[in-house]
Symmetry: C2
Subunit: 193 residues, 2 copies
């Protein structure tokens, strides 16, 4: 697993947390966006919302062509403070913007609806919960669903094509209010049916 | 319980369903919006989103003053077909529009995030799920929470002031996609924590 960033040396020296994480994960690499995307089969966009398109442009459209691009970002606009609003919504989504910018990428939206620690360790909640996948490429969604199941996700709901990401991106406003009301980010949506 | 409508006779004769429901519920009345609001302590706005403000205006601001107004409507815009978009969102909400139009009403947003049958009989899902309340009046939220608990809701989450209704109204886009993906409206969100 390789992490891409604008300037690896700046990232390595930024604060303590990322350098410590790298030391604790000797199999993980740190390099530029472009090199990270060149040498992988699956790209995860885990940038901030406004950073998504610039980071993927830095990764390079040639490096994204034909690859599964897992988009876990949220189009949060903090320009007016907290809680943030969404800079794209309802009639479009950040996932669709990414797909349009990189038409040869196989974009799958997922994991933007829960906090980072639970994305890869959902069992820490102590009860089953749900995650969603949206995308236009069925094989890409199947690959991502297997990845999610390998993390322990027991209820992966395929919402349909990538436009359904409008729905999951619009979950963020209630997610943020729930974080405030519950006093924790350690929660997740479960679809009871 | 009294149902308000623009023209009770038209409503009574419209199709079979409402007339049958009235016959099966002899304690329920049917009258105009204004009379329904005049003779009650608690008003439920169960109109379509675009119908909310006109219906409450027909009910009359004097009849709403000081009363708990439970707003379960959603600002759905079907003008471009299905799935609908939202005609107010993100930086405002239909609940806040109602509160601004009727400043003396004690508006509580709730129950807009699940299908009608489950609103009053959540136990039919066979497992616990969550509902949300948003409002500026703590006593009104307490009244509504008791009402929800009387329906069988076991997890009523107070999100905060009425602006938090922006979050629950923005749940509709994913609710609609879930209805499509699951092939049923009989589901609900549970906040696992």
């Amino acid at each position: 697993m390789v992490v891409g960033t604008r300037d690896p040396e700046v990232t390595r020296q930024r604060g303590e947390s990322f350098g410590e994480w790298l030391e604790a994960h000797p199999d993980a690499g740190l390099t530029t966006f472009g090199e990270a995307a060149a040498d992988t089969e699956l790209v995860v966009n885990a940038t901030s919302g406004p950073g998504a398109l610039p980071a993927l442009e830095a990764a390079g459209s040639d490096h994204l062509a034909g690859k599964v691009v897992v988009d876990i970002s949220n189009p949060l606009d903090f320009s007016a403070g907290f809680p943030p609003t969404l800079f794209v919504k309802d009639t479009d989504s950040l996932a669709e913007q990414i797909q349009r910018a990189f038409p040869q990428a196989r974009v799958v939206k997922t994991l933007n609806t829960l906090t980072a620690a639970l994305m890869v360790k959902p069992a820490e909640l102590g009860a089953d919960s749900s995650v969603f996948v949206s995308g236009n490429d069925e094989a890409a969604k199947a690959t991502v669903t297997e990845l999610l199941q390998s993390f322990g996700h027991t209820d992966v709901i395929d919402l349909g094509d990538l436009s359904t990401a409008r729905g999951t991106e619009m979950l963020l406003p209630v997610w943020l209010r729930l974080m405030g009301a519950l006093g924790t980010a350690t929660f997740n949506f479960k679809i009871v049916r």
